[in-house]
Amino acid sequence: MLSVCRSCFSAIRNRLTIIEHGRGFSAHAAVNEAKEPDTAQLFTQEHKELRRSLGRLIEQDINPYVDEWEEMGQFPAHEVFKKLGQAGFLGVTKPTEYGGLGLDYTYSVAVAEELGHINCGGVPMAIGVQTDMATPALARFGSDELKKQFLEPSIAGDVVACLGVSEAGAGSDVASIKTTAVKKGDDYVINGGKMWTTNGFQADWMCLLANTNEGPPHQNKSLICLPMDAKGINLSKRIDKMGMRCSDTAQIFFEDVHVPQSYVVGEEGQGFTYQMIQFQEERMWAAASILQTLQNIIQATIEYTKERQAFGQPILNNQSVHFRLAELETEVELLRSLLYRTVGLYVQGQDVTKFASMCKLKVGRLGREVADSCLQYWGGMGFTNEVLVSRLYRDFRLISIGGGADEVMLSIICKYMNTLPKMPQKK
């Protein structure tokens, strides 16, 4: 999420053109013609079991340590990922040849939802980078050799991955990235830098987006698997953030970094297109990963306001409080319904760009709304760092910024509604 933070959206039109062109469908017909999925059938007994088991792991091996990790400004990604990997949670949708389970995307959603039980935003985000942001393109388009070297250990939890897309001067405007990878002998020589890289300080490899030729901006980029111990990689800054504190975020520079040309994912020049495809899963994942957390905050707020007395009665007894909480719970369920509908269409193979963008937009806004409204009812306690609600208030502020800002999502939706004005041609 942070790793692909895109703070402006000047190139959004270009990006959309590519998505549509690349996948060859008409934006307007696709969703309407699709058969609506039966969401009651979206989750099976196996999904339930998966959640139960992951829930246990979270309760035993993650939640007891979250406070400590938040304090330290980093969580032990290798240790946590190993546990998740051993239990099979890092490769739910990945091919079985590389240790994945080859299941459909509904299972990824079940994992993401259960991760919402983690008492912070940072750890789920780091896991999401590993499973749904840095690896989908590699799994889909990478060579066998590359998948053995990078995908297999990522699924097993033996290595930590990060995603290198955003740069100091290019976030939402992915097409404008400046990092270059120039062919020299059998290698690429990489120069430039990346910004907002989640897991950056702990990662063993990066899924790097770089310009690999001089062509037009949507055909000159490639995704490259970059080992983070390569010479010339400089982790220059651990970024100090208002939230997601247990997730390390790096600014990284590349100075004549050599990687073999065979480390390119799929076809050279297709990096931009691959990344756009990769974004769909990232958006659905973002929505899925905080649904449970939102419900947990609402529940915790109910418990707290039931206990807390003011003016001779529990705070919860005020209609403005219990009505508001009911309103929020309703909003969360509506978002869940939209997400399930989107996921149902996605597993049927439909284009879900519009719906996935709506999910992402709504989850960003609702995350802020729920955290803010609930925090209010915690009174002075809500303003302390001793309660979960204040941590989530800080953490969820990111959802509207990272993984494509709200404004980017709005532009995509407008595009599908035919209301986005034409942008002046760049010279």
Binding site: E49, S53, F89, L101
Partner: protein
């Protein structure tokens, strides 16, 4: 009573057949509510899971299989259709197959350890098992009777409240948690063992095993198939919430505390 089928108990090789009871109960994290008619607690729409003590029994059985002490482990659950979910959890943890004894409606509401132990004893005979592993009690009714009754019905030795189980030639050496501390006993097979909290820490099922569990067989039986009569032996008169704890008061000093305690007639 018939003795169970004993594996190769002499020396090292043991290939025991184990039956594990998996009761479906209201999840431990759920706040239980009494029904308005005071005839039971609300179960509809409430999260259920496997009785935590049974989960410990499942884990111990799986560990015995991993150590090549057990050859086949069978999970059994008595109750409504949803018990199959509980059985799937057990299968995902590593059990080989399941038996669902379907009991629903009124019969299930009045089902008691007495009935369940008869069912377990019958299945143990049919399946020729060497060990019946159960939780020491279920967290819903807290009966702590099923293991003991099953052992009695089969006339098998029992090792209840087990906190450690080791093989001892052809027998099992079981450490039990008793009031005064720990007691170690030697039990001959076949036997009934009930697990205590500290026997082990149950694993979480891995995703590959959850998917594999889908293909493991679950046989469905009725109490009639097993020749067990589940007609009620007792009648519930009323189920009540525990009394609400009254608010306390803060005292200024020890003297006030003592005088209050005296006034209350406690000291």
């Amino acid at each position: 009573m018939t003795k169970g089928h004993q594996g190769h108990l002499n020396g090292v090789k043991m290939a025991l057949r184990i039956l594990v009871g998996c009761k479906r109960v209201i999840d431990y994290a759920v706040k239980v509510r009494v029904k308005p008619d005071k005839m039971g607690v609300v179960t509809e729409g409430v999260k259920h899971s496997m009785n935590p003590f049974d989960e410990i029994a499942v884990e111990e059985a799986v560990r015995m299989k991993e150590k090549k002490l057990a050859s086949e482990i069978i999970a059994v659950s008595c109750g409504p259709q949803q018990c199959q979910e509980t059985l799937r959890t057990a299968l995902a943890m590593g059990l080989d197959r399941g038996i669902h004894v379907e009991i629903s409606g009124k019969d299930y509401e009045t089902l008691q350890p007495f009935h369940v132990s008869k069912i377990l004893a019958k299945i143990a005979e049919e399946e020729k098992v060497d060990i019946i592993f159960l939780g020491k009690q279920a967290i819903d009714d807290d009966c702590n009777q099923t293991g003991q009754m099953t052992a009695a019905l089969l006339d098998w030795p029992q090792a209840t409240f087990a906190s450690k189980i080791e093989k001892n030639n052809g027998d099992l050496m079981v450490t039990r948690e008793i009031d005064g501390g720990l007691e170690t006993i030697n039990v001959k097979l076949p036997c009934v063992i009930t697990s205590d909290l500290r026997l082990n820490e149950p694993r979480y099922a891995t995703l590959p095993n959850i998917m594999k569990a889908k293909k493991k067989p679950i046989a469905k039986k009725s109490p009639a198939d097993l020749g067990v009569d589940v007609s009620p032996r007792q009648e519930v008169l009323s189920v009540e919430d525990p009394p609400v704890r009254e608010a306390g008061s803060i005292v200024q000093d020890v003297d006030e505390l003592v005088s209050k305690l005296k006034a209350a007639g406690v000291v």
